[in-house]
């Protein structure tokens, strides 16, 4: 083995090792990353903007948001979002007065039926907004939920 070949080989080995170790260090996430930026934003409009890239919301009666009028315990506020709209891509839930308005997002597939339910925390009385993305447009429904005991403090 002459010097030239030796150098070439060792360089290639080094390259392979770097690629492999790079692959191994990568976190094992097979899916789209969690949108940290959107969840960190503290202003409602900025939050909506960062999720959709615009603030163009259409209030629609096709979106049904089920939420209590008064939540005695802000730590557990049951929510249910349903819609008759077709081709729903995602459902997002925003809480205007929470430290971070975006509370959760649901990315649906072609097999999904557009209905989701969960329980969220609310710090204060606030407007809750359910936003449904269908055929590229955003449709919303909102409801004021009164909170008697906050769920975010300690």
């Amino acid at each position: 083995m002459n010097r030239r070949n030796f150098l070439k080989n060792s360089l290639m080995t080094a390259a392979t090792i770097t690629t492999f170790s790079g692959l191994m260090i990568k976190p094992k996430r097979l899916y789209a990353a969690w949108p940290k930026a959107s969840f960190d934003i503290t202003d409602l409009n900025d939050s909506i903007n960062s999720v959709y890239g615009h603030n163009n919301l259409n209030e629609s009666s096709e979106v049904m948001l089920k939420a209590p009028d008064i939540a005695e315990n802000g730590a557990i506020v049951p929510l249910n979002v349903k819609t008759k709209l077709k081709n729903v891509e995602s459902i997002m839930i925003f809480v205007e007065n929470n430290p971070q308005p975006l509370s959760s997002g649901y990315n649906l597939s072609s097999k999904s039926v557009p209905t989701v339910g969960t329980r969220i925390k609310m710090g204060n009385t606030s407007k809750v907004i359910a936003a449904v993305k269908s055929n590229g447009k955003i449709y919303t429904a909102s409801k004021e939920v009164k909170v008697t005991i906050g769920g975010c403090g300690g």
């Binding site: 969840f39 430290p99 975006l102 997002g105 649901y106 999904s112 969960t118």
Partner: protein, 102 residues
């Protein structure tokens, strides 16, 4: 024991999946009352559900989801489908559970 409780039921071609995950869902804003130190954030960020290995829904959660989160959603499927739910939190913990649609 698994941290997930899963129930999936079919009716008229629609499978409704209900799940409860055992998790503290710590926001990172609470303080330990005795020491005054902040309790670090610890919450589930992503929940993925597959039916017969096809992804049905991907859920992103923030810290504002309640402790021991409850979740329901639906998809077009049939009895006997194998539903798999996987979650991962901000500290890298994860768990998954499979169940059969009834």
């Amino acid at each position: 024991m698994s941290t997930i409780k899963l129930r999936a039921k079919e009716s008229k071609g629609i499978v409704t999946v209900k799940a409860i995950i055992k998790h503290p869902m710590e926001t990172g804003q609470r303080k330990n009352k005795k020491t005054g130190e902040k309790i670090p954030a610890h919450f589930i960020q992503q929940v993925i559900c597959k039916a017969n290995n096809d992804e049905v829904i991907t859920i992103n959660w923030g810290p504002a989801v309640s402790k021991n989160p409850y979740l329901t959603f639906a998809y077009m499927g049939s009895k006997g489908d194998v539903v798999e739910l996987t979650w991962e939190d901000n500290q890298g913990n994860k768990d998954s559970l499979q169940g059969e649609v009834k």
